[in-house]
Amino acid sequence: MPVVIEHEQLPVREARAGDAGAWNILFKRYQLPLYTYVFELVHHEQTSLDIVQECFISAARHIASLRVDGKFGSWLFGIAHQKCVQHWRKRRPDSVPIEEEEDLVGDVAGPAELLISQEQEAEFLAALDRLSPPHREVLLLHFIEEFSIEEIAGITGARPGTIKSRLHYAKDALRHLLTKPSE
């Protein structure tokens, strides 16, 4: 099990003061979740590693723009989101997968609700890949770091209603897969 340090325990204040050790702790804490998020969006190993490294450097250089220390995680993922968007723009300028859609009122349960059995794993990951990038992104942010709707809205720049709608749709799609009787 990965060691998860609570936001309050993260040495953000020390990092602000330029403490290299503090940055090392912060980077180590977020490197795997950040890589997972980026990889599941861009699907390329080296690009994902480059983006993670760029995120770390950008975070250290622009730490002054972080207002609340407790929001370091969502702020860092916001940087990663921007880097992914830049990557998509470079690849195909007309295919940046950011779209607006109608807000739906849906219930959004906690991140721990989806449990996947060993037999379902491959199918589940394949289903995740079939989701559109905006839906996948919202789902990843919600489950990997347990960000709230408002935090995800802040990371992606979309409205909270849109995030709620995307999350509802994505979870429905995955739930449908998990409740389907195995053949």
């Binding site: 990965p2 290299a20 940055w23 090392n24 980077f27 180590k28 490197q31 795997l32 979740p33 890589y35 997972t36 990889f39 599941e40 190993e45 590693l49 993670v52 490294q53 770390f56 450097i57 250290a60 250089r61 991140p111 721990a112 989806l114 449990l115 996947i116 059995s117 060993q118 794993e121 589940f124 990951l125 789902l139 990843l140 489950f143 990997i144 347990e146």
Partner: protein
């Protein structure tokens, strides 16, 4: 049974050594002082903006001069008097010029009275 988070993180756990290396590279880069951009770099970065602005100013200046010249020509054309007046003025000026340029005594005034001796000799012959 696994949660979504566990499944995803386990899927990428094999990347940890590479992520450690990326983290160390990032930390090493942060330890290097950030190069401060010089004035030269700043101006070079603005070269296209400066070129664009210069072009705009050039067009503006050319258009301003052009419209100025046109206005001056229109004003001059409006002030030209009709041809007969011009001709009369020209003759008058020419006469004035001739008077000024002729040396004194070069022409005798036509209505000067004859000399007294000439008048007397005329009477004598009669």
């Amino acid at each position: 049974m696994k949660t979504f988070k566990e499944l995803l993180l386990e899927r990428h756990r094999g990347m940890e050594p590479k992520l450690d290396a990326a983290r160390k590279r990032a930390l090493a880069e942060l330890e290097q002082p950030e190069a401060k951009p010089s004035w030269r770099d700043f101006l070079i970065s603005l070269r296209w903006h400066l070129a664009g602005l210069s072009a705009v100013w050039l067009v503006f200046i050319v258009l301003t001069f052009d419209s100025h010249a046109e206005t001056t020509m229109v004003m001059a054309r409006d002030k030209i008097p009709p041809a007969p007046v011009l001709r009369a003025e020209w003759i008058e000026k020419r006469l004035e010029l001739m008077e000024l340029t002729q040396a004194p005594g070069e022409t005798e005034p036509a209505a000067l009275p004859p000399r007294r001796s000439e008048i007397l000799s005329r009477f004598e012959f009669v």
